[in-house]
């Protein structure tokens, strides 16, 4: 991302509440029209960062630029951003129409023009005819849409969303995820979305910033975050991951491999090793990258183990396989293809199981 593309530039921003350092030092760019998520466990600073974009919190150090303008001295009511609050903050004393039209006061519109804009928004959020409903007659999902409409009617440059789906039940949440993504494509506004739900972030986002302890660990597309995490923390936070200790072995400039505890030697192309000979590394492999078989597979990297535990989850099963040289059993996730197809569910009495994998699936991370 080049600077000219960036709609939001966060430059060396720090935030302290008294002696507590909420944001350590964060720099990143968010592009025009992007669906960008801030993902992390509670207390990681993602909501603080969002509130700094909205102007509800000052930056202790650093600067935030929106569309090229420094935001330090701009109060919330003058920023070109609007927010959907976690509690939705629907005004209880106003009906739906007056809630959505709330921000239009300064636009000098006639009543008819305002109502027309509100009706357009009600169509957009699929609640036509709801204008005269009272706020307390609305369900959680409806409140969420009204909050969206109230923010979008002002055509902000950025829409900030603070865990807007957190209060909804699972089914409604999945439906709203799809609608939110479609809505964002339709209006073309940059969305900055805060969530602690990694699945939600992967489903919705163009790019995700993974945060922890007030730091940004990695900013990347969902696929690259999952397939090529840059640190153990990111790898462990997004999905599940098996870790093995290893050492880089380079054979001059011709070929290389990683010696691992448990998985044996894994040959890797030199451009993926990126570390000097003898460097300690962690080798990471996702559970679904392993293939299980009862006999040693031909021509693949494989290691034998014993089944220590299994869990049947319907579409897939989780197996925990103990292998030599590895203290914790390896987690393996394997699709259930149906009775008589694929591997029949193994039991601990079946004898040795073979784990195989492709070198492409291997991720190298810095040792602890």
């Amino acid at each position: 991302m080049t600077d000219t593309d960036a709609l939001i530039s966060i430059r060396k921003v720090k935030k302290a509440f008294g002696s507590f350092q909420a944001i350590e030092e964060v720099s990143m760019d968010i592009g025009r029209g992007e669906f960008f998520s801030l993902l992390g466990p509670s207390g990681c600073g993602k909501t603080t960062l969002l509130r700094m974009l909205a102007g509800f919190e000052n930056t202790t150090e650093g600067e935030i630029f929106i569309d090229g303008h420094a935001m330090s001295d701009v109060p919330p009511h003058h920023r070109p951003v609007n927010m959907v609050f976690q509690s939705y903050a629907i005004f209880p004393h106003l009906n739906v129409r007056d809630n959505i039209a709330y921000g239009l006061r300064k636009r000098n519109l006639s009543r008819a023009e305002r109502y027309e804009m509100v009706d357009e928004m009600l169509d957009l959020i699929k609640l036509p005819g709801y204008g005269t409903r009272r706020a307390n007659e609305l369900s959680g999902g409806q409140r969420q849409r009204i909050a969206l409409a109230r923010a979008l009617i002002l055509r902000p440059k950025v829409l900030l969303l603070d865990e807007p789906l957190g209060a909804l039940d699972k089914q409604l949440r999945e439906q709203m995820q799809l609608e939110l993504r479609a809505l964002q494509r339709q209006v073309g506004i940059t969305f900055v979305f805060v969530t602690h739900d990694q699945e939600e972030a992967l489903t919705l986002s163009d790019r995700i910033a993974v945060m922890s302890g007030g730091r940004v660990l990695q900013v990347d597309t969902p696929e690259r975050l999952y397939e090529r995490p840059v640190s153990r923390a990111v790898a462990a936070f997004i999905g599940n991951m098996n870790f093995f200790r290893g050492t880089v072995r380079r054979n001059g400039s011709a070929s290389g491999l990683v010696e691992t505890e448990g998985l044996g030697n894994i040959p890797l192309p030199l451009d993926r090793l990126t570390r000097p000979d003898g460097a300690p590394v962690q080798v990471a492999l996702r559970p679904e990258k392993f293939t299980l078989s009862r006999t040693r597979p031909e021509g693949a990297l494989a290691v034998a183990g014993r089944l220590s535990n299994a869990a049947y989850l319907g579409e897939r099963s989780h197996y925990y396989v103990s292998i030599d040289g590895c203290a914790t059993p390896v987690a393996v996730s394997s699709p259930n293809l149906g009775v008589g197809r694929g591997l029949a569910p193994p039991t601990p009495e079946d004898g040795p199981l073979w784990l195989s994998w492709s070198p492409d699936a291997v991720v190298l991370l810095d040792a602890d």
Binding site: P75, P76, A89, F91, P92, G103
Partner: protein, 270 residues
């Protein structure tokens, strides 16, 4: 005992106790309206017949109207000022983190338990030292001290049940602090404001001790009643006047309670 849960089961002795409690509390008060309709200047049984003449006499008496007008003026001004101060205090208490907040709240509430006679004497000494003459203004000042804790106590739950993101949402949608207050904060706490106005008006209207120390030449209604107690022949019209005050106070306090709760349960629920 068969129906109702453990908490909600009927408890006969407790119900009887509650009824007796209310009777003991209010029967003495009910003698006042009862005797105000009695066709005799002596307060004693048996009643000698029903009459409205004491009310009629009251109607024609100039000083009653003056005293009423004084009380209404003081009451309205005190209600408005104490409610404004109450709104400011309640907002500050609920919005800002400040050291010694609970001590501050205690100090604001203190006049509820400090005897009025102490405040009355203290104010009287202070005012006379400063050479300020006793007028309805000094009565109003005394009433402000008495009324402010009630205003704060009425408004505080309103502000406490108030989601701070409501005001942030308004700022986010482009309104500054002033407009946010009038478009969001005030409408949301409005029932509390009305309740506070009614309650503080009633308290000021009925207040005697402060008025006793701080009244100059213009009496408030309770002061007028106090003055009339010396004249036995005036006693029935005093009863009539007291009955009217009792009636109006009941209405206002019930109204204040009812309005003060509007919407409060809903916001707690959601």
């Amino acid at each position: 005992m068969s129906d109702g849960t453990y908490i909600k089961r009927p408890n006969r002795p407790l119900q009887v106790y509650a009824v007796i409690f209310l009777i003991v509390l209010y029967v003495p008060v009910l003698f006042i309206p009862l005797f105000s309709f009695n066709d005799s200047i002596y307060v004693r049984f048996p009643l000698e017949g029903w009459t409205l003449k004491w009310y009629g006499e009251l109607w024609q008496r100039e000083p009653v109207w003056n005293a009423l007008w004084n009380s209404v003026r003081v009451g309205v001004v005190v209600a408005v000022i104490s409610t404004i101060l109450g709104v400011i205090a309640a907002r500050a208490i609920t919005r800002y983190r400040m050291p010694g907040k609970s001590a501050l709240v205690t100090f604001i509430m203190m006049p509820l338990v400090i005897p009025g006679i102490i405040f009355g004497v203290a104010l009287l000494v202070l005012l006379s030292r400063m050479g300020i003459p006793l007028t309805l203004y000094t009565v109003g000042l005394g009433h402000l001290i008495v009324c402010l804790p009630f205003a704060v106590a009425t408004l505080l739950p309103r502000f406490e049940g108030f989601d701070p993101s409501m005001e942030e949402a308004s700022a986010d949608l482009g309104e500054n602090g002033w407009w946010t207050f009038w478009r969001v904060t005030f409408p949301m706490v409005f029932p509390g404001v009305v309740a506070s106005l009614l309650l503080t008006f009633t308290i000021s209207f009925d207040e005697f001790i402060m008025a006793f120390f701080l009244t100059g030449t213009d009496p408030t209604l309770p002061m007028y009643i106090w003055g009339q107690l010396r004249f036995p022949q005036e006693f029935p019209s005093v009863l009539a006047l007291s009955s009217l005050i009792l009636f109006v106070s009941f209405i206002l306090v019930f109204l204040a309670q009812w309005i003060g709760r509007i919407g409060l349960d809903e916001t707690k629920k959601s």
